[in-house]
Amino acid sequence: MNDETGRGFDAGVLAVPPPCEQERMVEAVLFASRDPLGAREIAERLPAGCDVPEALAALRRRYEGRGVQLARVGDAWAFRTAADLGFLMSREVVETRKLSRAAIETLAIVAYHQPVTRAEIEEIRGVSVSAGTLDQLVEMGWVKLGRRRMTPGRPMTFVVTQGFLDHFGLESDRDLPGLAELRAAGLLDNRPNPEAGSSADGDEGDDGEGVAQGELI
């Protein structure tokens, strides 16, 4: 394993490797991994005392403009091919299941409104969310369960995952396209429905409406 060919660095010794050596190590570790690695995970694999954030920053600069880039994915890092060269990799394209429109909308709602409960998703979409839709997103590794909301019933919330960020090339969930504008326009507010108080399920409360709906459809 350790054929430390004259590199003069010995992993067993306590001395902290020099910065350029640390950068090489982070490079090797990240290159070897398909999935993004967090700074702590990287640090665990390096000799003690390494400044991983510093090495990551240096590495990122080094790969700027190259065919392969160091991408930040939430709190983690991964090498990815440069987006402008995607056309060369047509043979590596991974065929993914096509998402239904319901799934895509639900995904966007989770991403922009997270943490969000199922009732809130339904309120935003105006229709009920089938169990399969959220399941599918969870199964794809794009959505996961967040904390329970501290409201009556303690409903589950949903949030997007690191896999989601990785897939869509987002550095963090603050990086979502148009997030600032949407927020400024108040479109991410959870404005309560004027009728039926704050209840999300509008079936109860006002019965006239239930009838009206039923008749119309």
Partner: protein, 221 residues
């Protein structure tokens, strides 16, 4: 969206047209629209009526404002979803390392065992033989009931005289002990069947082969 400017007639026409079209479209798409259209119609009706002072509920204006907000918000989410899907996607535009070459996870396994476990293991070996439960000692024995059951099932399918050996279950012939047991059980079962009148049995002499024939068949002939 200003609801007051929506013509209820136009809405109704659109709505009906949509219901027609929905038959050809994806159900999910239709459902969305139908709910929205129903809402619009309902709200429009509320707006047309003079406000009822006794009604404690929200005014038509408030509800219209909220619906407008909802529509706008949903539209914004649809746009956001489209933008999201328009981004460079992993596995389509951007790629991870293709090879998993270096993912060598050298799992160093250390095994442990306690002295008690070691002794228990030894005790287990040492006591295995005399700790054989009673049913194991019965060994490979085909019960008479089982043989009877089996032979009854065959009665209709066998023609003419056949040796007892041909009536034995094939999976009991592999070991001498099992074969012996199967023979004994089948013979006893054969006697039972003879007694019941559904089988004939004959043997040409002591230690000669035993022949069996289903009874019904012989009579017919």
């Amino acid at each position: 969206v200003d609801l007051r400017r929506i013509s209820i007639l136009k809405l109704a026409e659109q709505y009906l047209g949509f219901v027609e079209a929905a038959k050809r479209l994806r159900i999910e798409l239709a459902a969305d629209y139908l709910v929205m259209a129903a809402w619009l119609a309902f709200l429009k009706s509320r707006l047309l009526l003079p406000p009822d002072p006794a009604d404690e509920g929200p005014s038509g204006d408030e509800m219209a404002a909220h619906l407008a907000f909802q529509l706008q918000r949903l539209e914004a989410m649809r746009e956001a979803a489209a933008r999201l899907l328009g981004r460079d996607q992993l596995g389509r535009d951007v790629f991870a390392r293709g090879e998993t070459e270096a993912v060598r996870r050298a799992v160093k396994v250390t095994f442990t065992a306690s002295l008690v476990e070691l002794m228990r293991a030894y005790a287990r070996i040492k006591t295995r033989d005399d700790f054989t439960p009673l049913h194991l000692a019965r060994g490979p024995v085909l019960g008479m009931e089982a043989a009877l059951e089996r032979m009854r099932g065959f009665l209709g399918t066998r023609l003419g005289w056949q040796e007892l050996a041909a009536w034995l279950p094939a999976d009991w012939l592999d070991a001498p002990l099992r074969r012996r047991s199967a023979t004994a059980a089948s013979f006893a079962a054969a006697l039972e069947l003879v007694k019941a009148g559904s089988l004939e049995i004959r043997q040409e002499g002591a230690f000669r082969p035993i022949w069996l024939r289903p009874r019904g068949e012989g009579e017919v002939l």
